[in-house]
C-alpha cells in the first residue's frame, strides 16, 4: 500500500538525511511545513538537530505547534524532534522552554557521571518493550547517538539508553513516538526501526 509520509520542515539540518534514509527503503517521502499538508499525511516525521529553543521558535514561527498537537496518525520524532514531543526542555538560555506536550516528560542535561558530553557515538539499548516500532530490535544492536540532553526514563519509555545514567532512548504515547538516536544514521538497525514505522498499521 502506497503511503503518504511527510517530514515536517522544522528548518533543522538533518531533513535531507532523514529523507534519504526512507528513500533507501524505497519509500517516497515529502517535506512540508504546510499544516494542511501535514494533517492529511498517513504518517509524519518530526526531525531535528540543534537546540530546543531554536527549534521550538521555528515551529511557532511556522504556526505548526497546534497543528502538530492535533495529529492522530503515527508521528515519529527523531533526536531533537523526540525531545520536542515532551512537555518542556531545560535546553535554553533562559530557563525552561515549553515543548509540544505530546508525551509526558521533561528534557534535562544528562548527568553523565564524569563521562564526556556530548554522548556521541554508537550505543546499545536495554529494557526494550514489546512494541511494533521495535520489532526485530534487540540489546545487541547499536544506534548512533549525539546529544547532551535527554528525557528521563518513565512509563512512556519503550527502550532505555545508558550513558552514566539511564535515559529514554525510545518513547511513545498513543500515536506519538520518538527516538533519541538517529535511525537515519544507525546502519541496518536504524533502517529496521524506520521500516517498522513505515509498516505500522494506522
Amino acid at each position: 500500500m502506497k503511503q503518504d509520509i511527510v517530514i515536517v520542515n522544522t528548518g533543522c539540518a538533518n531533513i535531507a538525511s532523514v529523507r534519504y534514509a526512507f528513500e533507501r527503503l524505497a519509500v517516497a517521502v515529502s517535506v512540508s511545513d504546510d499544516p494542511a499538508r501535514i494533517n492529511r499525511a498517513d504518517k509524519v516525521i518530526l526531525p531535528g538537530v540543534g537546540s530546543a529553543q531554536a527549534a521550538m521558535t521555528s515551529l511557532h514561527q511556522k504556526g505548526l505547534v497546534e497543528p502538530l498537537q492535533q495529529l492522530t496518525q503515527p508521528v515519529l520524532g527523531v533526536c531533537l524532534g523526540m525531545q520536542m514531543m515532551v512537555d518542556a526542555s531545560a535546553e535554553s538560555r533562559d530557563g525552561d522552554i515549553p515543548c509540544l506536550g505530546l508525551i509526558p516528560g521533561r528534557v534535562e542535561r544528562l548527568q553523565a557521571e564524569g563521562l564526556r558530553l556530548p554522548h556521541m557515538g554508537w550505543n546499545t539499548l536495554s529494557d526494550i518493550a514489546e512494541h511494533p516500532l521495535l520489532h526485530g530490535i534487540d540489546e545487541q544492536q547499536y544506534f548512533y547517538f549525539v546529544h547532551s540532553f535527554g528525557v528521563a526514563v518513565s512509563d512512556t519509555t519503550l527502550a532505555r539508553g545508558n550513558y552514566g545514567q539511564p535515559f529514554a532512548a525510545v518513547i511513545a504515547k498513543g500515536n506519538f513516538m520518538g527516538a533519541q538516536f538517529h535511525p537515519e544514521r544507525s546502519g541496518r538497525a536504524g533502517a529496521r526501526l524506520l521500516k517498522n514505522f513505515v509498516e505500522l498499521v494506522n
Binding site: A13, N14, I15, A16, S17, Y20, A21, E23, R24, V49, G50, S51, R116, L117, P118, H119, M120, G121, W122, N123, T124, G136, I137, Q140, Q141, Y142, Y144, V146, H147, S148, N162, Y163, H182, E184, R185, S186, G187, R188, A189, G190, A191, R192, K195
Partner: protein, 263 residues
C-alpha cells in the same frame, strides 16, 4: 556501552579520493561515492571527508558530492575543508552531512567555532587540529594550511592551549592529527594523545600513524580516545575493517557490530 569508533578518512582533491605521505605527493585512490559505500558496508562507524585543497587555495569548492554520499550511506559522516562561515557550514549540513570540521579557518577566526555552535548546535562542530612536535623546543605546536606544503606554517598556538580554547568556544569533538606520525604507519602518538585526552572533555579522535591492528588497540586502551581515524591502511587494503573490529573486540575494546540480518 558506548562503542569506540573506527573512522576511515577520505582526503578529497578535485572530487577524487587521494592519499599522500606526510601531506605530500598525493596519489589518486578512487571515486568518492563507491569508496564511501564500501567502507559503510564493511562496518566503518563514521566517515570523514577532508577537502585538502580548499583552505589553502582560498577558493569555493564544488561540494555536490556531499549529497551523493548522504544518499547512499547509513552511517554518520563529517565534511572538512574550506568551511569559513555559517553559510558554508549550513550548505554542507543541508546537503546531508552530520558534522562539519573546521581547522585553518578556526585558527584565523576562533569566533567561527562559537558561531557554528550557536547556530547548528555543539553536536555538529568538530575542530581538526594539526599538531607537530618540535624536537628543538620540546613543544607540540599547532600548524595551519597543511593541505599545501608551500603554505604550511606554524601558528602561535601550543596544542594543549588551542585544545582548551576550542572547547571553551563550543567544539563538540576534536580530531587531533599528529603530523609527525601522519602517513608513516608507525603507530599513533600515544604520549601526545594521552596528554590531550586529560585536557579534553569532549570526544577526542586520534589521527595519524595507523599501520597495524595493534596500533588501534594501543590508542584505544592507552590513550582512551573515542575514535581512531586512518586512511592509507584502509585505502590500500592493509587492514580489513571487519577483521580489525573482531581483533579489537578480542582486546576488550567495545566495538559496534552491524547486524546484516536485521533488515
Amino acid at each position: 556501552m558506548l562503542a569506540k569508533r573506527i573512522i576511515p578518512c577520505l582526503d578529497v582533491r578535485d572530487g577524487k579520493v587521494v592519499k599522500g605521505v606526510q601531506f605530500r605527493n598525493h596519489e589518486i585512490v578512487g571515486d568518492i561515492v563507491p569508496l564511501a559505500q564500501r567502507y559503510a558496508e564493511a562496518g566503518a562507524d563514521e566517515l570523514v571527508f577532508y577537502d585538502i585543497t580548499a583552505s589553502s587555495d582560498a577558493r569555493v569548492v564544488d561540494k555536490s558530492w556531499v549529497s551523493r554520499i548522504a544518499q547512499v550511506i547509513d552511517i554518520p559522516f563529517c565534511v572538512a575543508g574550506g568551511i569559513k562561515s555559517i553559510e558554508d557550514a549550513g550548505r554542507i549540513l543541508e546537503m546531508g552531512a552530520d558534522k562539519i570540521s573546521v581547522n585553518s579557518p578556526a585558527l584565523a577566526n576562533p569566533d567561527l567555532i562559537r558561531a557554528l555552535h550557536d547556530t547548528f548546535g555543539q553536536q555538529c562542530v568538530v575542530v581538526g587540529i594539526d599538531s607537530f612536535f618540535d624536537a628543538q623546543t620540546g613543544q607540540y605546536q599547532v600548524y595551519q594550511f597543511t593541505g599545501d606544503e608551500k603554505r604550511t606554517q606554524a601558528t602561535r598556538w601550543q596544542t594543549q592551549d588551542w585544545v582548551a580554547e576550542v572547547q571553551q568556544l563550543g567544539a563538540g569533538e576534536i580530531v587531533l592529527n599528529c603530523m609527525n606520525q601522519d602517513g608513516v604507519r608507525q603507530g599513533y602518538d600515544i604520549p601526545q594523545l594521552s596528554s590531550i585526552r586529560a585536557r579534553c572533555n569532549v570526544p577526542l579522535i586520534a589521527s595519524g600513524g595507523a599501520g597495524s591492528m595493534a596500533h588501534f588497540a594501543d590508542v584505544f586502551t592507552q590513550a582512551d580516545v573515542d575514535g581512531a581515524l586512518a586512511a592509507s591502511v584502509f585505502h590500500k587494503g592493509v587492514i580489513d575493517i571487519p577483521a580489525l573490529k573482531q581483533y579489537l573486540r578480542q582486546q576488550g575494546v567495545a566495538m559496534r557490530n552491524d547486524d546484516r540480518e536485521c533488515v
